[in-house]
């Protein structure tokens, strides 16, 4: 039996980025090879057992709208589903699932095996084949060589990775995996610049050794629905709870007396790690007056006997970990099954990836996930999907898919990543999305399903179903804007019963709905619309109410969206020998002609142009636009 040697697309690494990338490429028809160091740990969650939350959950919804796999997989394998931020507004409202880590892996593995065009192989890639700046294939530790046209590298935290536990340190990947060795040298030789990043994970403890009675139970929401559009109304009757406990003076004391063994103090690790999940040692150092830190005790699966201690992340040595864990209420007798550890790994230095996830250095190479300096499964999956899509579009010589930051969190993610310059890894939050009123959880399909359909990851049937659903909502919004209530005595009486103010002039149904406390059904009652003419599905009513109640705020956002998307459409580099651009500063012209930024919007956001320079550029561009329009008209 002979092994195939040439693939259209090779994906290295089968974590969350690699799985999405390989699935997208194969589903779009490309012969795809997915190489993982260990088939048993495909789609591994080496850190927290959860997916979602504000920003992250938005990404998962969008991955689903575009035709990615993560939402389907987590919907089927979660042990808990919960709504977060429900009272704070639709823009920040998001689901968060607790995963069964084992089922998640199994299910993803089955999906990979069941996908046509996709070949899964175990192997350790030690080198890239690069010819004249173009990727040609990969070489494995075994000596095997595979050729490809596009290579997607999703090495996670494995590149030259090193485990740190206090003073002890050894080469190793997450959860006792092997590090990926050799690839870094190969990348460096091809001109790619690397940097070191670190992250860490908390200890896992034996469930039966914990006193849950001393903790607050945190159950899920039965009616939270799933991430995938098709699962939006799914009920999760059976769930497992998480538990919350807190550190106290004893814990602070335990950390302090072990601090000399902390990698932070020993300085045997890079300081560049995720700001949003600091280790317990870092928290005690940075917030010395704070005693009460949250510790979430989370299940790792239906059958798992392990509990994850969110909040007690540390790379301190085993004795110190036992000391600290034992200081927390309910964990006094906790038996540690796996110690927490810190890991240091190679990631790309800033400025080497495009919004398409293609490398700015090596042609045909795409990178996604933690290698790109992000943290989080969801961020990885999102990048993997974009990389997979763009690898295939490039194969087909079609225009790349550039998700716009005005349209999706995916757009925010890739846009921010391609210009990210800070030392710490990037995590998505609504705070990064300036257009978050538009990029709501409930609007993911209305924003992206058409893109998914055009790309080919959303089939005709699914697209039509989503389209009909969305048309029903839009249609009702239109109807509600057209219907109006006249200020008759009777109407005013009905309004008074709703305690929502008087009516002095005719108001449309939409205007009435914008009043605080007024619901869609209130409005339909006021307008005396028969019940059988109304929307009834809760998700449709919710989408409609949100759309209308947000309208005033969203309209203010819309103006800025127009400006940003105009600038985004101006791709860089520009031909700067154009004599009309000589008015710009040398520096601006140099950046415009380089591949440092993907588009003008990035350059403006990074303050690389003065306002007068923007004005001059826009004038040249709109002049060219006019010429093109005229040219097209005369044809």
């Amino acid at each position: 039996m002979s092994q195939k040697k040439e693939y259209a697309v090779i994906v290295i690494g089968a974590g969350h980025a690699g799985c999405e990338a390989a699935l997208a490429a194969a589903r779009l028809g490309a012969e795809t090879l997915l190489i993982t160091m260990n088939i048993s740990t495909v789609a591994l969650m080496p850190c927290n057992p959860s997916i979602g939350g504000p920003g992250k959950g938005h990404l998962v919804r969008e991955i689903g709208a575009l035709g990615g796999e993560m939402p389907r997989c987590i919907d089927e394998t979660c042990v808990q589903m919960k709504w977060l931020n429900t009272s704070k507004g639709p823009a920040v409202r998001s689901r968060r699932a607790q995963a069964d880590k084992y089922l998640y892996r199994q299910r993803m593995l089955q999906t990979l095996f069941a996908t046509p065009n996709l070949t899964l192989r175990q192997g350790h890639v030690t080198g890239l084949l690069v010819e004249s700046g173009r990727v040609k294939g990969v070489r494995l530790e075994t000596g095997l060589v595979f050729g490809c046209e596009k290579l997607i590298l999703t090495s996670g935290t494995y590149l030259n990775s090193r485990i740190i536990l206090g003073r002890a340190t050894w080469p190793g990947g997450p959860q006792n995996q092997s590090p990926a060795v050799g690839l870094s040298d190969s990348l460096t030789a091809a001109g790619v610049k690397l940097r070191r990043l670190q992250t860490a994970t908390p200890p896992r403890i034996l469930k039966s050794s914990v006193d849950l009675n001393l903790m607050t139970e945190l159950p899920g929401d039965v009616d939270a629905g799933g991430f995938l559009w098709e699962n939006r109304l799914r009920r999760y009757e059976k769930q497992i709870s998480c538990y919350l406990t807190f550190t106290d003076e004893r814990s602070v004391e335990a950390v302090r007396r072990n601090l000399s063994e902390s990698p932070l103090v020993l300085e045997n690790i890079t300081d560049d790690g995720p700001k949003h999940c600091p280790s317990i040692d870092r928290k005690i150092i940075k917030f010395p007056d704070m005693v009460k830190h949250q510790v979430f005790v989370e299940p790792e699966g239906w059958e798992s006997q392990e509990l994850y201690l969110q909040g007690l992340t540390t790379g301190m040595p085993p004795a110190a970990q036992q000391d600290i864990v034992g200081s927390v209420a309910g964990l006094e007798n906790a038996v540690i099954l796996r110690y927490g550890y810190a890991i240091e790994y190679d990631a790309l230095a800033p400025g080497q990836i495009r919004k398409t996830m293609e490398s700015r250095v090596i042609e045909g190479l795409y990178t996604a996930g933690q290698l790109n300096g992000t943290s989080g499964y969801e961020e990885a999956a999102g990048q993997g999907l974009i990389a997979g899509i763009n690898a295939v579009l490039a194969l087909r010589k079609q225009a790349p898919y550039w998700p716009s930051r005005t349209r999706s969190y995916l757009g925010v993610l890739v846009d921010d990543l391609s210009t990210w310059e800070k030392p710490e890894p990037y995590r998505i939050t609504p705070g990064h999305a300036e257009f978050r009123l538009t990029l709501r959880d409930d609007s993911a399909e209305r924003r992206l399903a058409a893109d998914g359909f055009r790309i080919g990851l959303v089939d005709q049937k699914r697209f039509s179903t989503i389209f009909e659903w969305s048309a029903r909502i839009e249609g009702e919004i239109t109807r509600l804007s057209a219907l109006s209530l006249l200020p008759s005595g009777e109407a005013r009486e009905r309004l008074a019963r709703l305690a929502t103010g008087d009516l002095k002039k005719p108001a449309s149904g939409a205007e009435l709905l914008q009043r605080p406390g007024v619901t869609y059904n209130n409005v339909m009652d006021l307008l005396q619309q028969p019940e059988n003419s109304r929307l009834t599905a809760v998700d449709e009513v919710y989408a409609l109410e949100t759309e209308i109640k947000y309208r005033g705020y969203a309209d203010r956002e819309a103006e800025k969206i127009v400006q940003t998307s105009f600038l985004e459409k101006v791709r860089l580099p520009l031909e700067t020998s154009d004599h009309r651009l000589h008015a710009l500063s040398d520096q601006a012209r140099q950046i415009l002609g380089s591949s440092r930024f993907d588009d003008l919007s990035q350059m403006v956001r990074k303050h690389c142009l003065t306002r007068s320079e923007i004005a001059i550029l826009l004038s040249v561009l709109s002049e060219d636009g006019d010429r093109q329009e005229r040219h097209e008209e005369t044809r």
């Binding site: 639709p90 949003h276 999940c277 705070g431 705020y553 956002e557 009309r580 008015a583 001059i616």
Partner: protein, 458 residues
């Protein structure tokens, strides 16, 4: 590719600060349409003839009140600096006058030009060579953001410190709000909406005082408008001339001589006062007089205070009653002046009951000190900010301050009724616009501040 549509832009072309003359440029398709609304030519020459200079007044079309006497020079397309229809308006150099004229242009259809925008258009229309563009654009970009700062630095920097403090206070709450929105499970103390509502109200109140000081600054720099109202021939124009100490208004025996509003500035104590002589209030005799009378009404509405002028030597006439009613209903500070005190008095003084009242003889030059004293008193009682509190803002700064106030008012109204994610948008807008009042354009980066302040770890 869609592109922004060409609109009409306006900007001050001379550097900020006091100079004898300031130049405001207007360019774009609506240049002359806007100026026709705002600019009343002094002469008979039709407006706008190409490449002509006009002397006249920039007025507020709603009130007919004069913002400034100006020179307007017309440059129709394509032979202009920008290649578009362009006009240059030369105003007096007082920054507040300049700012008023600019604001009028902005209010009536022009958009504040961005730095380099005139140059961009010139360049686009092939009016400049590239070296020129470079020189001009560098100059412009150097001027703009510092321009806003200059106005504040003219004083002692206290107003900008005040704005920065207010901005920091809002930012403090915004960061907490954003922290709880972005990291819902990180045990960030929930926003106490009642406390925040109180704080927003407090900030709003302080900022409104600031805005009032800015309005006072604008009012005073412009002259406090006091309109003279009275029936025809009651002696308004004589009184004006007497107050000015020279003949400004045409005085005749013929009632209705003053058909338009006239205004002149004089100092009363430390305040510049702009006396506005109006057409007499009566049933108009012809159309022009009718327009005059209409302008009188508007002038009265716009004025800071009113002086009713009555002929003390005559019994009260029906037209005097109209004036009296107007005074009583205006809600503004009012002085009733009984003119012609040198003649035997026939007017019944009881009709002025409750009004500040004094007698003057414009003809004989009697009673001026008392009138000035009365004006000083009404200024003192008006709640106008003290000189030391007044603030000078440029046009762009005023716009930013208004936007900040609007955003805060929205937050004030909304809090408790709107979701916190929307509230955060209002607070962020307030923070951003307050930054602009101080001439800064900084990114509002709440995320970094969240990590500094809160222990995020879930």
């Amino acid at each position: 590719m869609s592109k922004p549509k060409i609109d009409t832009i306006a900007a001050v072309s001379t550097p900020a600060g006091r100079s004898a003359i300031s130049l405001i440029r207007v360019s774009g398709p609506d240049t002359f349409k806007i100026l026709k609304k705002l600019f009343i030519t002094g002469g008979k020459k039709a407006f706008p003839l190409p490449y002509s200079v006009y002397f006249g007044s920039v007025i507020e079309p709603d009130t007919g009140l004069v913002a400034d006497k100006c020179l307007v020079t017309t440059f129709p397309a394509p032979r202009s600096y920008t290649g578009e229809d362009l006009a240059e308006v030369s105003t007096h150099g007082n920054p507040l006058v300049v700012s008023r004229v600019l604001q009028l242009l902005l209010k009536h259809g022009a958009r504040a030009a961005e730095a380099g925008e005139f140059t961009r258009r010139a360049f686009l229309n092939g009016k400049m060579d590239l070296l020129e563009v470079e020189a001009v654009s560098q100059l412009l970009s150097a001027n703009t953001s510092s321009q806003a700062r200059l106005a504040l630095n003219q004083l002692d920097g206290l107003p900008s410190q005040f704005v920065a403090r207010i901005r920091d206070r809002i930012m403090h709450h915004l960061v907490q709000l954003e922290a709880s929105l972005n990291f819902p499970e990180d045990a960030i103390e929930a926003i106490d909406e009642h406390l925040l509502a109180r704080e927003i109200k407090k900030i709003l109140a302080e900022l409104e005082i600031f805005a009032r000081n800015a309005r006072s600054g604008a009012l005073v720099a412009d002259g406090l408008k006091i309109a003279l109202l009275g029936r025809p021939n009651s002696g308004k124009s004589s009184l004006m001339n007497y107050m000015l100490g020279r003949d400004r208004a045409i005085v005749t025996e013929i009632a209705g001589t003053t058909r338009d509003t006239l205004e002149e500035t004089l100092m009363v104590g430390e305040y510049p006062v702009k006396i506005i002589d109006t057409a007499g209030m009566r049933q108009p005799g012809d159309r022009i007089e009718a327009i005059g009378i209409e302008r009188t009404s508007k002038a009265a509405d716009e004025a800071f205070a009113l002086i009713g002028v009555f002929d003390g030597s005559q019994p009260v006439k029906a037209e005097d009653e109209i004036v009296l009613n107007r005074l009583r209903q205006s809600g503004k500070p009012v002085i009733a002046v009984l003119n012609k005190s040198d003649l035997p008095q026939q007017i019944n003084p009881e009709i002025f009951a409750g009004l500040r009242q004094l007698s003057v003889s414009a003809l004989k030059g009697q009673g001026l000190p008392e009138l000035q004293k009365a004006i000083s008193q009404i200024i003192a009682e008006s709640g106008l900010s003290g000189y030391e509190e007044m603030i000078l803002l440029g046009a762009q700064q005023s716009v930013a301050l208004d936007k900040a106030l609007t955003a805060l008012e929205r937050a004030d109204r909304g809090i408790g009724n709107i979701y916190q994610d929307m509230l955060a948008i209002d607070l962020e807008e307030a923070v951003r616009e307050l930054g602009r009042v101080n001439g800064e354009t900084v990114d509002v980066n709440t995320l970094d501040l969240i990590f500094e302040r809160f222990c995020i770890g879930k």
